[in-house]
């Protein structure tokens, strides 16, 4: 029994160039002329075919921009295909973003009705499930408060709780499990597992390879709008990790594991030093876009010193996908610290130890500054390179045997020391307490 079928589906977007910098384009005539221009075509999904059987959990992985989300939006009927046909057998619910259709002025209870009906529930169905929805969300005491007074956590809890009560035949999941605190997350995961055991068909789209591997029976790998592999989770995830290094489009649009400036004149920098290349590398010297969380990651910059006699400090800023600064790092090695450098080409590499970062995308800003009273930037390349860190759940990364979601910005494996001293038994303690 097939619940979902994609039959040679393609989705084309038309992109109109907005040349706001050009004063001519901003004039009325320019604006009108642009209406007649042929927009540029962009195929987000190209000739994709697959089937999902009843009760099967299919995962779709791939980098951002690979077309995963478009597949989901096509299935959810949010966008219309340009070619091909999609067959959906049964009631489908998409948990693309929880809290969709919430209105700030309305109370939690009113929003349950609003969001519930937008997601396709009937009014009497909502009334029937209202108590259970409130219970699951765990915010009963605030249910008659306008949601504008909610914390973002409460907002998300209520949103997911509504979604979790949809009871569809087919469930679309898109990173929704990455919400709330750890306890709520495991509750959500449990709910999804319940649905799965109940024979629901599930389509799961995620960057979290671990979650995909645990949840899915079969995985599709997408790249540039096409399905390039399909098979067992272990197989496809492995292929993803390996293929990714050579054809990395990165989670950050247009960024890769290596960036080069072939033309010295336009390369970032000034008359003193110019940046020529930045890349993420393995210990073996290979450029890589995906790293095992247990392996060290080298961030290497190649730069040319044009004017000798300056003290130069290569440094990096590391960000996560949410653009949060994770940490800063600069070169403090004795042979370069405080030393003025002769002209020539340099290659400096900063080594991030294994078991230090968390799984996910890492974005690197590369800089060289001079150590003078006023810190001078020779260049500051905000989005130099990006790479992905994956946790393979083999038990020897910092997460140990735990496979659930863990928060935090980094996850270093620390050295632990434990001192042990034998104490009295419980009974003796009580006696001691009495005598005291």
């Amino acid at each position: 029994m097939i619940d979902l079928r994609f039959d040679s589906v393609s989705k084309k977007y038309l992109i109109r160039q907005e040349e706001e910098d050009d004063p001519k384009a901003r004039s009325l005539a320019g604006r009108l002329r642009r209406l007649w221009q042929r927009p540029r075509e962009f195929w987000a999904v190209r000739n994709v075919s697959f089937e999902v059987h009843r009760g099967e959990a299919l995962g779709i992985i791939g980098h951002n921009g690979a077309g995963k989300s478009t597949v989901l939006k096509l299935l959810a009927n949010i966008v219309t295909p340009s070619q091909g046909e999609i067959m959906i057998n049964g009631q489908l619910a998409a948990l693309i973003e929880v809290g969709s259709g919430f209105h700030q002025e309305l109370t939690g209870r009113e929003n349950v009705y609003l969001s519930g009906s937008i997601l396709g529930m009937r009014r009497n169905e909502i009334t029937r499930k209202l108590d259970s929805i409130i219970e699951f969300s765990g915010i009963r005491e605030f249910i008659d408060t306008p949601v504008k007074r909610y914390s973002s956590g409460m907002f998300v809890r209520l949103g997911f709780s509504i979604a979790a009560h949809l009871d569809p035949d087919i469930l679309l999941l898109d990173e929704v499990l990455a919400v709330g605190d750890a306890a709520f997350q495991s509750k959500c995961l449990e709910r999804v597992n319940d649905l799965r055991r109940g024979g629901k068909t599930i389509l799961f789209i995620s960057h979290d390879l671990g979650a995909v591997e645990r949840l899915c029976d079969r995985v599709l790998l997408m790249q540039r709008g096409e399905v390039i592999a399909s098979g067992s989770p272990a197989e496809v995830i492995d292929q993803y990790k390996h293929s990714a290094a050579t054809s990395f489009t990165s989670s950050f649009q247009g960024m890769g594991a290596v960036r080069e400036w072939p033309d010295a004149q336009t390369a970032p920098g000034d008359g003193i030093v110019r940046l020529r290349k930045v890349r993420a590398r393995t210990e073996e010297g290979e450029t890589a876009a995906v790293f095992d969380i247990r392996r060290p990651i080298g961030v290497e910059m190649t730069y040319e010193v044009l004017e000798p006699g300056h003290v130069l400090i290569p440094n990096y800023y590391f960000f996560n996908q949410e653009q949060q600064l994770l940490f800063y790092a600069q070169d403090l090695e004795p042979d370069s610290r405080g030393q003025s450098r002769p002209a020539g080409q340099y290659v400096s590499t900063a080594w991030i130890p294994g078991n230090f970062l968390i799984n996910g995308s890492i974005l690197v800003a590369a800089n060289i500054t001079s150590d003078i009273s006023v810190v001078a930037h020779h260049f500051h390349v905000r989005e130099a390179v990006a790479f992905n860190v994956v946790d393979s759940f083999d038990g020897d990364s910092t997460r140990g045997d735990y496979t659930g979601p863990i928060g935090g910005l980094i996850r270093p494996r620390l050295n632990w020391t434990t001192q042990f001293r034998e104490t009295h038994t419980a009974n003796e303690c009580v006696l001691e307490g009495e005598s005291a």
């Binding site: 949010i78 067959m87 609003l114």
Partner: protein, 293 residues
């Protein structure tokens, strides 16, 4: 475009709905299916309309009074201008109630159109995340405006008692007249909300258009005054579907006479042609709304 085939029996007892999503193309069968799908979303239309009304009055101190305040304050202004400054012939009725009877359906029309035009653009986050037939968004704004209209009607009843306006059975014509206007405003709402997605100019220009439109409609003056227009302009004037609606609403409710069927017929004809065309246009535009919004 979506086609939902009526429930199909699969593997014994389980009944599931099979849905096909295909590239947008026109077919009569498709339109029938879209309309059928809309009926399945009755609960959403209900909840969203209720929500519009609730939100509008939730944090305002005067609450539902606003529905009355709007036509009432306009009535005061026009009464001052047109009964004292510039005299207007009203066939004997007091000018205040004369203009209020015109402003009542006009306020419904302009409120519905203004809010519905923006309905798709103001729901970007819904449209890009959840599927439902998009015409529900402009539709619920029309329903909310209709609700305001009903509230404001109570004020009309009070004024009619105060001015001792006799009620005749002709007042029942008001129901089909308002129905004709609702068809027309629905059609306009579908067109303008869809165009607004591509060209935000619509929303910017609409207040101006409505202002001009109001003076091209016998809201603050009787239709007979428009006869003074040059013949070509007068013909054009009569093609405005709002003319038949406003004039006949006033005739039947205030003057107690039967409607003038020629002008009402023009309104009905234009509305009935426009609505299916607007619906087809809207559904065509709907397919790309999430792409370009």
């Amino acid at each position: 475009m979506t086609e939902v085939e009526p429930k199909v029996k699969i593997a014994g007892a389980v009944t599931r709905r099979v849905k096909f999503i295909r590239p947008n193309s026109f077919s009569v069968f498709g339109v029938v299916n879209q309309l059928r799908e809309l009926t399945r979303y009755f609960d959403l239309i209900h909840t969203l309309s209720q929500h519009r009304i609730r939100v509008r009055y939730k944090q305002s101190a005067l609450g539902l009074t606003w529905a009355i305040m709007q036509p009432l304050s306009l009535m005061l202004i026009y009464t001052v201008i047109f009964s004292f400054v510039a005299k207007i012939q009203t066939n004997g009725a007091p000018y205040a109630i004369f203009v209020f009877v015109g402003l009542l359906p006009w306020t419904y029309f302009s409120t519905a159109l203004t809010s519905a035009t923006n309905s798709l653009v103001s729901h970007i986050n819904l449209i890009t995340k959840v599927y439902f037939p998009r015409e529900i968004l402009p539709l619920t704004y029309v329903i909310a405006a209709f609700f305001d209209f009903l509230i404001a009607t109570s004020m009309l009843a009070i004024m009619m008692i105060y001015y001792r306006v006799p009620l005749t059975s002709n007042v029942l014509y008001a129901v089909p007249i308002i129905l004709v206007m609702t068809i027309f405003v629905m059609a306009m709402a579908l067109i303008l909300s869809a165009v607004q997605v591509r060209f935000r100019d619509v929303g910017v220009g609409l207040p101006l258009l409505l202002q001009i439109w109001m003076f091209a409609t016998p809201v603050v003056y009787p239709l007979s005054t428009a006869a003074k227009l040059p013949p070509t302009l007068h013909v054009l004037y009569l093609l405005n579907p709002m003319v038949g609606v406003i004039e006949n609403f006033r005739r039947t409710v205030l003057l107690g006479s039967s409607p003038e069927f020629v002008s009402l017929g023009i309104s009905l004809l234009i509305s009935l042609i426009l609505l299916p065309a607007a619906y087809l246009y809207f559904k065509r535009a709907e397919a790309t709304v999430a792409d370009i919004i």
